[in-house]
């Protein structure tokens, strides 16, 4: 009988992805209701030390594959290891974070384990021992509630939605996984050096739209981002105009983000843009058009010229910080 919860701990270069602890916190909550053990699968080079990061998350067992050969994510190999952890732990629930890696490994694992998968979940409940999940569809214009009927229920969770909470202290047992052979080489991982946090992981995002007037003015959103320790985002209009890179686009055909604070500067709030950011906890809109649709979703708004408002905000925040 399948029982308990397994978490896929995501790491790159020996650094744990912070949202993995959100997954562990959710796992600990689910375990209280469905019983069994809470275990974590940790896969990657120099990853053995990561098990200690789960000490305060009620983890009973760690399934570990730590080898130099696993220094880069390789979908097939990582999936095989995750499947091995599943066959050892026999969980009824597997939780993965819906990051770039998680979005790739979750359907691979689901397919190879013959399981149902609900991706990018924003709500999870247990009813009669079964997981009931909520996820946005139609770009957030509707919410769907699903039950996963396979014996193993796999879900990927949207980062920044489920709070993480350290509690207690456990000393998990570590079980090593057998590392299989390499099939498809990842030739290279290129890092884009950035002083700013990554968009999908940031707790604050400052985004600019066509109201920024041109690529030369984005130093304003960048400065505001820097005084807040925030990431920088953009609307599709400015990405398509070549003012900002694709990687910064937020929306239906860009990234889905749910930071604590999203500041939209000169963005009208088209439905496709809202699709990517409406689950942000606090939304601030700065727009000179009082009728812009962005004000319908904004928690706080300033009607005004961003070229006057943003520099003033930067000044005020600097004053607070000093």
């Amino acid at each position: 009988m399948a029982q308990g919860v397994l978490i896929f701990a995501e790491q790159r270069e020996g650094v744990l992805k912070p949202s993995s602890l959100e997954a562990a916190t959710l796992g600990r909550e689910l375990k209280k209701e469905i019983g069994g053990e809470l275990s974590v699968a940790i896969i990657g080079a120099n990853s053995s030390s990561l098990s200690s990061e789960f000490k305060q998350y009620g983890v009973d067992k760690v399934y570990l594959a730590d080898s130099e050969e696993l220094n880069q994510y390789d979908g097939e190999r990582y999936t095989a290891l995750l499947a091995e952890a599943v066959s050892k732990a026999q969980p009824s629930v597997l939780i993965i974070v819906a990051s770039a890696m998680g979005k790739d490994i979750a359907p691979r694992a689901a397919s190879s384990l013959g399981a149902g998968l609900a991706t990018d979940c924003t709500g999870v409940k247990v009813i009669d021992g079964k997981i009931i999940i909520t996820r946005p569809v139609y770009a957030g214009k509707a919410l769907i509630k699903l039950r996963i009927d396979s014996e193993l229920q796999i879900l990927s969770i949207r980062p920044n939605v489920f709070p993480k909470k350290a509690e207690g202290d456990t000393d998990p047992e570590v079980i090593e996984l057998q590392i299989g052979e390499k099939k498809n080489p990842v030739s290279e991982v290129q890092h884009v050096k950035s002083e700013r946090p990554e968009l999908t992981e940031a707790s604050i995002i400052v985004s600019g739209g066509r109201g920024m007037g041109g690529p030369e003015n984005f130093h304003l959103t960048e400065e505001l981002a820097d005084v807040l320790g925030a990431a920088v985002g953009a609307s599709r209009a400015v990405v398509d105009a070549g003012w900002r890179p694709h990687t910064e686009q937020v929306g239906q055909t860009g990234k889905t983000v749910s930071p604590n604070l999203y500041i939209a500067c000169g963005i009208s709030g088209a439905i496709q843009h809202l699709a990517g950011m409406s689950s942000s906890k606090v939304i601030v809109a700065i727009n000179k058009d009082a009728d812009a649709p962005i004000f319908k979703v904004a928690t706080y708004g300033i009607v005004g010229d961003l070229f006057e408002v943003v520099p003033k905000m930067i000044k005020e925040i600097k004053a607070l910080n000093s």
Binding site: A106, T119, L261, T299, V309
Partner: protein, 250 residues
């Protein structure tokens, strides 16, 4: 080079969602169906591969009968033929079921490369490409923003948090497209004329063995009404104070 593109017809991104009284589907009258935006990049990449290496492009769609017009659009862009698996109410269906159905059809087609979109913008599942590749037992690289294709292999770039991965796989292989992979072409008038005569096979299929049950579909709760803090730069100080003291987010 034989190429298959998996293409889904989805409600246009402008669609106002209304939920039917059954509580699990959306009202479809007045909904305009378009090619899933990510699949447009897949179609474009497929046509470019054909232009570079010869061969043909087959469009594969599973969906309602109304998807025909979008299949013709893909043929007008430059795809050669199409297979339409007709099945109503497949929009929000479980990816494992869709993958099985597409797999049964694809395994009878000769292919070197399969292109998909990264995700369908209606169900936002982000599952099908990897599930299909697993069933076919071929390598897959998902959400690619660049591809160098030869007759033997493909080197694809995918964006990850804070960087890119460059992954090389041998063909046959599957790639799913991210925005930025290319700029999809518009169909030309001769293309639209030619598309009318290109082969389009239709087959009825039915779904079974779903691993997910849809319990309900709901509109999201309305957002509490926001607050206009003020007008112009004078409001900036007050906004910053609210963000620090009331919302406690900075």
């Amino acid at each position: 080079m034989n190429i298959v593109v998996c293409m889904k017809s989805v409600p246009s991104s402008e669609t106002k969602v209304k939920i039917n009284s059954d509580g699990v589907t959306i009202e479809q009258t007045d909904v305009v169906f378009e090619i899933n935006p990510y699949d447009e990049y897949a179609i474009e990449e497929a046509i470019r591969a054909k232009e570079a290496h010869g061969g043909k492009v087959t469009i594969l769609t599973l969906g309602a009968a109304t998807a025909t017009q979008n299949i013709r659009k893909a043929l007008a862009m430059g795809a050669d033929e199409a297979l339409h698996l007709i099945c109503e109410n497949a929009e929000l269906a479980d990816s494992s079921t869709i993958a099985e159905l597409l797999y049964s059809a694809i395994k009878e087609i000769e292919f070197d490369v399969i292109f998909c979109g990264k995700k369908a913008i209606d169900c936002d599942n982000h599952q099908l490409p990897n599930r299909l590749a697993q069933l076919l037992d071929i390598p897959a690289v998902t959400a690619i923003s660049n591809l160098e294709l030869t007759t033997e292999s493909g080197s694809a770039k995918r964006n990850i948090e804070g960087g890119t991965e460059l992954i090389t796989v041998n063909l046959p292989a599957l790639f799913s497209a991210e925005k930025g992979l290319n700029e999809p072409r518009y169909a030309s008038l001769p293309g639209i004329m030619a598309a009318k005569k290109k082969p389009l096979e239709e087959r009825q299929v039915s779904m079974s063995n779903e691993k997910l049950t849809i319990l309900s579909l709901e509109l999201p709760p309305p957002k509490p009404k926001g607050r206009i803090v003020g007008e112009g730069p004078e409001a900036a100080g007050e906004l910053v104070r609210i963000l620090r003291e009331e919302a406690k987010v900075i």
